[in-house]
């Protein structure tokens, strides 16, 4: 809420108080004089939670999978035709994250056309969510369009997109929604990284999955805090919790003394569950 909105709110409140209290003034003024105390609440929306989490940026999330192998296959990304399906806030936020990861996937794979398509999908969803203005500042959209094939420059511009969307959500008392976006971005990254698992170095892939599974609890917390989630987002949350329970019950996780190494069978189970949840998110 900006200063003007606050002033309007405070002003309206005071007008209401004044109009009510003027009628009472004649009869109750002596009592009011005895009890009147001015107390100003100095807390505000900018008092942080006692424990918080730095939400990783989509660029860091997706590019961290490069070492474990990340081949580009266009059909694996979320089809922009699906945009029309996302009519609830929850689905729009989750898929804002999904398309953000798809954009990073396109950029690091030097796929200019796919990058443009995914960027347009993000802009479309930003408009639907009500934060399309983030692209107007300093002509961010044009900067992105001009640099879409330059990985280095795009990495920096994507951080700008992410920071502006976070700032927008913070300024509008919607900090929780940033965690919903993160959940979508995280699932898309995991989804893209878990194709052709039989052909990949199992040790590297296991290490990457175990590292990333530590982020699942943050994604769950994010969706749990989002109280206005509809049925579709609630189903995604239920499936995420199921994935976490399945993962925690793996022998390699329960019995580990050092860093766990998942068996090929466990990798397949995690992969199947991630692909199932991702389908739910984009459907």
């Amino acid at each position: 809420m900006n200063t003007y909105q606050k002033l309007i709110l405070v002003g309206t409140g005071l007008l209401l108080i004044t109009s009510c209290s003027n009628n009472e003034e004649n009869t109750k003024a002596p009592e009011l004089k005895k009890t009147a105390i001015i107390e100003v609440d100095t807390t505000d929306v900018y008092t942080s939670d006692d424990y918080d989490f730095v939400l990783p940026r989509p660029f860091a999330l997706v590019s961290s999978f490069e070492n474990a192998g990340l081949d580009f296959v266009a059909s694996r990304m979320n089809d922009p035709k699906n945009l029309e399906k996302y009519t609830t806030d929850g689905k729009q936020l989750l898929n804002f994250g999904v398309y953000s990861s798809d954009l990073v996937y396109s950029i690091i794979s030097d796929q200019t056309q796919a990058s443009i398509t995914n960027f347009n999908a993000i802009k479309n969803l930003a408009d639907k969510i009500g934060m399309g203005s983030i692209f107007n500042e300093e002509d961010l959209a044009k900067q992105i369009e001009d640099n879409i094939s330059d990985r280095e420059e795009m990495e920096s511009l994507m951080i700008d997109v992410y920071e502006r969307s976070q700032e927008f959500l913070e300024n509008n008392d919607m900090r929780i929604l940033a965690a919903v976006q993160f959940s979508g971005a995280w699932f898309e990254g995991m989804y893209l990284a878990t194709f052709d698992v039989d052909k990949k170095d199992k040790k590297k892939l296991s290490h990457t999955i175990v590292d990333h599974m530590n982020l699942l609890k943050q994604a769950i917390k994010g969706l749990e805090s989002y109280k206005e989630r509809g049925e579709d987002t609630a189903e995604v949350l239920a499936q995420m919790k199921e994935l976490q329970s399945t993962y925690k019950a793996f022998d390699s996780i329960k019995n580990t003394k050092g860093f766990p190494e998942l068996s090929p069978e466990e990798i397949k189970i995690v992969t199947a569950k991630i692909h199932e949840i991702r389908e739910l998110i984009i459907s």
Binding site: I17, T42, Y51
Partner: protein, 160 residues
């Protein structure tokens, strides 16, 4: 009654203006911190500001960071917008774990900036017998010492 309401209105306006001014200053410092990172030849990877109120009691606020995503994170802290004392403690595990190790400490960041690299933190971790490969997250505690009531903020920016 009218005088009281006028006074209340003025206090509200002043309070609202002061709070927005504080937030704007913090936002500017976030931009400055990003410039500090790029000036050191590093890439910027995000920011987290923790806001609080100094009170008569010592308070704790914390943040968790996934550190496996980049090869060598550098953590840049800005305590310019904290009048009271704030100590930064960096641990390998969350506050509810009794076995956690304190890997780094910055005593009183108030009014200052400081930075530390993951490489430096890992050296301490190895000294304690830890395996760097297994350290996927860091837990940062802000120990906010008791002080006269005022607003405060610590900003953490990540470079790599």
């Amino acid at each position: 009654m009218k005088n009281l309401l006028t006074a209340l209105f003025c206090v509200f306006i002043f309070s609202t203006y002061a709070q927005d001014e504080f937030i704007e200053k913090v936002k500017k410092s976030r931009v400055e911190l990003r410039k500090d990172i790029t000036a050191k030849g590093l890439k910027y990877d995000g920011t987290k500001t923790t806001y609080f109120q100094f009170t008569d009691d010592t308070q704790y606020k914390g943040i968790e960071i996934a550190v496996f995503l980049r090869d060598n994170y550098h953590f840049f802290f800005d305590g310019s917008h904290s009048e009271g004392k704030v100590t930064i403690e960096i641990y390998d595990l969350s506050p509810d774990n009794p076995h956690r190790l304190k890997l780094y400490e910055i005593k009183n960041i108030s009014g200052k900036k400081a930075d530390v690299s993951m490489e430096e933190i890992l050296k301490h971790y190895v000294t304690y017998g830890g395996d760097p490969e297994t350290l996927s997250s860091l837990h940062i505690d802000y120990v906010i010492k008791k002080s006269k009531p005022s607003r405060g903020a610590i900003t953490l920016s990540l470079g790599f």
